[in-house]
C-alpha cells in the first residue's frame, strides 16, 4: 500500500472526527470525555479534561456561554446537554487536577494590552510557551467585562485566583497604565510583539485601528500587532475571549518563530465535523433540571445529566461485523496496521491474522457513510503477501486443498445432458452445494433437464473463489482459464449457478461467459409439484455474495412465496446481510472467529432459518441453528429427514459427498465407469460424532487418517500403549504431519484421537 493510498483511506473513515460538541467549542474541549467522567462519577477525571484545554478553568467553567450546546447531537433526541451547568458543577466542586507545564524560557517579549479574558488567555498561553509576557492595563484589577458578573456567578475571590495563576507562570502585570497617543509606540519599541484586548477601556485613545483584525491570525495593520476579544455584534461571548486570546498567542508564537502565520490553521476555533452518529433506537431524554437552580446541580443531578450524553461516535460497521469486533478496532486504525504490517522487513508481522480474518463480505462498505472498502484493502493485501512470500502457509492451505479436490479427478465433471451432444444451458451447482446436499444437486439437475429444452449440461467443480479470496492470483486465473476453456468445449452454454459466490465470480472475472442464477431461472419455471412448505414462518438468510444482487434476492423471495413459505424479514438481510464466516476463507484462517460469525448470522432472527447458500446453511447448522436450504423444500424427495435438522456435513463429509455425487451421476446418468479409488480408501473408520466435530475444527480429514493408518499398518511403525492396546502413528503426506491414535475393531479402525503439526521431524520429507 502506498502512503498516499493510506492517507486517502484514513480520511474515508470518520470515526476519529470530533463529536459535534467539541467541533463547536472554540477551544475544542473534549466534552464527550468530560461527560463520560461525570457519568462515571470520576470527578477528578472530569476536572482533568477541563484543565487540559480550558485556561482559568475556575473562572471560565463558571461562566462559559456553551456555544457547543446548540450543536449537541442530543438535541435531535431530547434536549442538548447542559454543558455549562455541568462545567460549573465540576469547577465548583473539584479543585484543579492538572497544572499545565511551563516550557523553559526562550526569549521574546510580548506586551499584552488590557486585562480582559482575552488578554489573560494570551498572556497565560505565551508564558506557558516560555515567552516573557507583560500585561499592561489601565485598570486596577484583571477581568475586564468579567467583573460585571454577579458575585454568586463569579466571586471576586475566584478572579483573584486568576491573578495568582498569571503570576505563577511569570507574567508581569502593570496596573494603572495611562494609555495615550505615545503609549503604543513605546510598547512596540520595548517588546517584540503586542496583543491588544479590545475588552479594554481607553483602547480608542491609542493610535491604532483594532476593529478589523484578520479573522485567522488576528493581525492588524501594524507589524507584530494583534487584536481580539471584546464584544461583537452578537454581544459579549466568554468563549470568544478565550478563543481570541489563544488564537493571538499562537499567531504571536509563529510571528516570533518567523514561520507562516496562516498555514494549517483550519482546525482552530469552531470547525466543521464529518462525524456520523446513528441516533435511531436511542430513546429521547429531556434535560435534567437542578432542583435548586441558584445552587446548580447536585452530584446526583450532574451524573444523571451527563449520562444523557450519547458519547457520539460512528463505529457503525464495527457494531455489525464479527471480525471488527474481534479485533476491536475500526477500519481507520486497521488500515494503518495493515500498512505498517506491509512495511515490516524484519520482525514479526502481527497483523497477518487480522488481514486473513476479514470475510471480504462488503457489509462495512454498505453500512459506512463514506463506503469504506475494507474488503478490497484486505484482499489486495493478501495478494501482496502471497507475491512477497510473506503469507502464512497455514492460513489457507486446507481450503485450497479442498478446492483442488473439488477440481480433481474424484469430484469434477463436465458433460452434456445424457444422450445429447450440445447444451443450451450448463448447470453449475458449485463445490459447496455438491458437498452439502448431493442428492439435492441431482434432483435439481433432473428437474432442469426435464423442463428445459435445448439440453442442460452439468458441470461439477469449483469457481475458484477460494484462490481469489486467499490472494493466490495466479492460481485463480489459471483456474478461471481452465473453466472458461471447459465451458467453451461444451459450446459456451448459459451457465446456471446455484451458488451466488460462483455467480459473482463469473460475472466479475469471466465476462465472456453468460451466467444466470438458478433462482432467477427457477422463478420463471414451473416449480416442482411436490415442493413442500413448512407451516411456521421462516427468516431468510441472504448470503453475503448477493449483497449487490437485488434481482437474485427478489427471485428467491418470489419462489419462497410461490411454494407457500411465510417469512419474517429481519434488518440484516439484503444489502446489509452478514457473512457466515466462509467468506474470505475466514473460517479457515481463524477457526474460533468463524464460529462466532456463523453464530452472529444465525442469531439475527428467532424464526427457523432459510438459507440459499450451502455454506451459510451448513455453517449456521453447525452452531445448532434450525436452518434449511431453500432447495431442500423445492425438492423434498432428496432428503427424508427434516431439512431444518440436517447436520453440517463437515469437511470430510463434503469430500465424501462430492466424490459420491460424481460416482453416482456418472454411473446412473451417463453409464460411465467412475474413477478408481486409491488403496487407502478401502480402510474403514469408526469415528464418534463428537470426535468428528473436533477433527473438523482441526482441519483433519478422514482421508488423512486413512493415510496414517494405512501407512502404519503396512510398515508396522507405530507406538503402542500396552494398557489399552491403542496405537499411535504419524504420517506426513505433504506439509502437515498427522497423528492418529487408533485401535483395530470389528467394524473398522476405531479412531480415538487425531492431531497435527507442521514442524518437520527428523526423517520426514521437507
Amino acid at each position: 500500500m502506498e502512503q498516499q493510498q493510506l492517507r486517502k483511506l484514513e480520511a474515508t473513515c470518520i470515526q476519529e472526527e470530533s463529536p459535534q460538541c467539541s467541533a463547536a467549542c472554540p477551544i475544542h474541549i473534549d466534552v464527550r470525555a468530560f461527560m463520560a467522567c461525570l457519568a462515571g462519577k470520576d470527578w477528578r477525571g472530569a476536572r482533568r479534561v477541563l484543565d487540559r484545554t480550558m485556561p482559568f478553568a475556575d473562572i471560565v467553567g463558571r461562566i462559559c456561554d456553551e456555544p457547543c450546546r446548540q450543536a449537541c447531537k442530543r438535541s435531535e433526541i431530547g434536549d442538548p446537554l447542559a454543558v455549562h451547568r455541568l462545567e460549573r458543577f465540576c469547577v465548583t466542586t473539584q479543585p484543579m487536577v492538572l497544572r499545565s507545564p511551563r516550557l523553559p524560557a526562550k526569549g521574546g517579549s510580548v506586551a499584552v494590552i488590557g486585562s480582559g479574558l482575552a488578554a489573560m488567555t494570551a498572556a497565560l498561553d505565551l508564558a506557558r510557551k516560555g515567552r516573557t509576557a507583560v500585561m499592561l492595563t489601565s485598570d486596577e484589577q484583571i477581568g475586564g467585562s468579567l467583573r460585571q458578573y454577579a458575585e454568586e456567578m463569579l466571586p471576586a475571590q475566584v478572579l483573584a485566583v486568576g491573578v495568582e495563576t498569571l503570576y505563577s507562570y511569570g507574567v508581569i502585570l502593570h496596573f494603572g497604565c495611562s494609555l495615550n497617543q505615545e503609549f503604543l509606540a513605546t510598547v512596540r519599541q520595548d517588546h517584540d510583539a503586542v496583543f491588544l484586548d479590545r475588552d479594554c477601556r481607553g483602547l480608542a485613545t491609542l493610535a491604532v485601528d483594532c476593529t478589523q483584525p484578520d479573522p485567522v491570525t488576528l493581525a492588524i495593520g501594524l507589524d507584530g500587532c494583534f487584536a481580539g476579544g471584546g464584544s461583537t455584534a452578537n454581544g459579549f461571548s466568554v468563549m470568544k475571549q478565550v478563543e481570541d486570546g489563544r488564537r493571538a498567542a499562537l499567531s504571536i508564537e509563529r510571528y516570533l518563530q518567523k514561520v507562516s502565520l496562516t498555514a494549517q490553521r483550519e482546525r482552530e476555533g469552531v470547525c466543521p465535523t464529518r462525524l456520523f452518529t446513528q441516533i435511531a433506537g436511542i430513546p429521547p431524554l429531556s434535560e435534567v433540571l437542578p432542583a435548586d437552580p441558584a445552587a446548580g446541580y447536585t452530584a446526583r443531578e450532574a451524573v444523571a445529566e451527563a449520562a444523557r450524553c450519547i458519547q457520539c461516535e460512528c463505529m457503525e460497521c464495527v457494531k455489525q461485523c464479527a471480525f471488527l469486533q474481534e479485533f476491536n478496532d475500526y477500519p481507520k486504525r486497521l488500515v494503518r496496521k495493515i500498512y505498517n504490517n506491509e512495511a515490516i522487513v524484519q520482525g514479526t508481522r502481527t497483523a497477518n491474522k487480522m488481514i486473513n480474518s476479514c470475510m471480504l463480505c462488503g457489509q462495512c462498505t454498505v453500512i459506512c457513510p463514506h463506503d469504506f472498502p475494507l474488503n478490497t484493502v484486505c484482499r489486495t493485501t493478501r495478494a501482496n503477501m502471497v507475491a512477497s512470500a510473506t503469507m502464512p502457509p497455514s492460513a489457507h492451505e486446507f481450503a485450497l486443498q479442498d478446492m483442488e479436490f473439488s477440481l480433481g479427478t474424484f469430484a469434477a465433471l463436465a458433460r452434456h445432458q445424457p444422450g445429447r451432444d450440445s447444451s443450451r444451458l450448463l448447470f453449475f451447482p458449485g463445490c459447496q452445494l455438491a458437498g452439502s446436499a448431493p442428492q439435492t444437486v441431482e434432483q435439481t439437475y433432473l428437474h432442469l433437464t426435464r423442463h428445459l429444452d435445448g439440453g442442460v449440461g452439468l458441470m461439477l467443480g469449483c469457481c475458484g473463489i477460494p484462490a481469489h479470496w486467499s490472494g493466490r492470483q495466479e492460481l485463480f486465473h489459471r483456474t478461471m482459464q481452465t473453466l472458461v476453456a471447459e465451458v467453451g468445449r461444451l459450446g459456451d452454454p448459459l451457465i446456471v449457478t446455484a451458488c451466488s459466490s460462483c455467480y459473482t465470480v463469473f460475472k466479475e472475472f469471466a465476462p465472456q461467459l453468460t451466467v444466470q442464477s438458478l433462482w432467477q431461472l427457477l422463478d420463471k419455471m414451473e416449480l416442482p409439484a411436490n415442493a413442500a412448505a413448512p407451516p411456521q414462518p421462516m427468516a431468510i438468510h441472504d448470503p453475503c455474495t448477493v449483497r449487490h444482487e437485488p434481482q437474485i434476492r427478489a427471485s428467491v423471495r418470489n419462489i419462497i412465496k410461490k411454494i407457500g413459505i411465510s417469512t419474517e424479514e429481519h434488518p440484516y438481510a439484503g444489502e446489509l446481510t452478514d457473512c457466515c464466516g466462509y467468506g474470505g476463507l475466514m473460517q479457515f484462517a481463524n477457526v474460533p472467529l468463524g464460529e462466532k460469525a456463523a453464530r452472529a448470522k444465525a442469531r439475527r432472527s428467532e424464526c427457523d432459518g432459510l438459507a440459499y447458500c450451502a455454506m451459510c446453511r451448513d455453517n449456521m447448522a453447525a452452531t445448532g441453528r434450525r436452518v434449511a436450504h431453500l432447495l431442500d423444500y423445492l425438492f423434498p424427495a432428496a432428503s427424508r429427514q427434516d431439512p431444518l435438522l440436517r447436520p453440517n456435513p463437515g469437511f470430510s463429509g463434503r469430500h465424501e459427498n462430492r466424490a459420491r455425487l460424481k460416482q453416482h451421476l456418472l454411473t446412473t446418468l451417463w453409464q460411465e465407469e467412475p474413477p478408481m479409488n486409491p488403496a487407502h480408501k478401502e480402510i474403514k473408520l469408526v469415528i464418534a460424532p463428537q470426535l468428528m466435530e473436533l477433527l473438523d475444527k482441526r482441519h483433519i480429514l478422514e482421508d488423512d487418517i486413512r493415510k496414517v493408518i494405512g501407512q502404519a499398518e503396512q510398515s508396522g511403525r507405530r507406538l503402542v500403549d500396552p494398557e489399552n492396546g491403542h496405537f499411535l502413528a504419524s504420517y506426513r503426506p505433504v506439509r502437515v504431519t498427522y497423528w492418529v491414535e487408533y485401535q483395530p475393531g470389528r467394524q473398522g479402525f476405531i479412531v480415538h484421537n487425531a492431531y497435527s503439526h507442521r514442524m518437520i521431524l527428523p526423517g520426514e520429507a521437507k
Binding site: 514479526t348 502464512p392 511403525r717 500403549d721 484421537n753 503439526h757 527428523p762 521437507k766
Partner: protein, 69 residues
C-alpha cells in the same frame, strides 16, 4: 543453539521394537529454522513422539510465530 526439553513420562512404547521411549535430543525444523529439542524417542528405531499437548501447544505457537516472521 539452546535445547528445549519436552520430555515427560509416557505410556507409549515403540510397537515394532518393543522398547520404552527415552529422552533424546533431535532437530525439528520449520520455515527454515531448526530447533534442537529433547523429546521422547525409541532408542532403537528413532521413532519420535509428539504428544497432542505439545503439537497443539508450544509447537503450534512456534509455527505461527515463524509464519509471521
Amino acid at each position: 543453539m539452546s535445547t528445549f526439553s519436552f520430555i515427560s513420562e509416557t505410556a507409549w512404547r515403540c510397537a515394532s521394537c518393543n522398547k520404552e521411549l527415552h529422552p533424546r535430543k533431535v532437530n525439528v525444523e520449520y520455515m527454515g529454522s531448526v530447533f534442537n529439542v529433547e523429546l521422547m524417542v525409541c532408542p532403537v528405531c528413532g521413532f519420535v513422539l509428539i504428544p497432542e499437548n505439545l503439537a497443539l501447544g508450544k509447537m503450534l505457537e512456534v509455527e505461527q510465530l515463524l509464519e509471521d516472521k
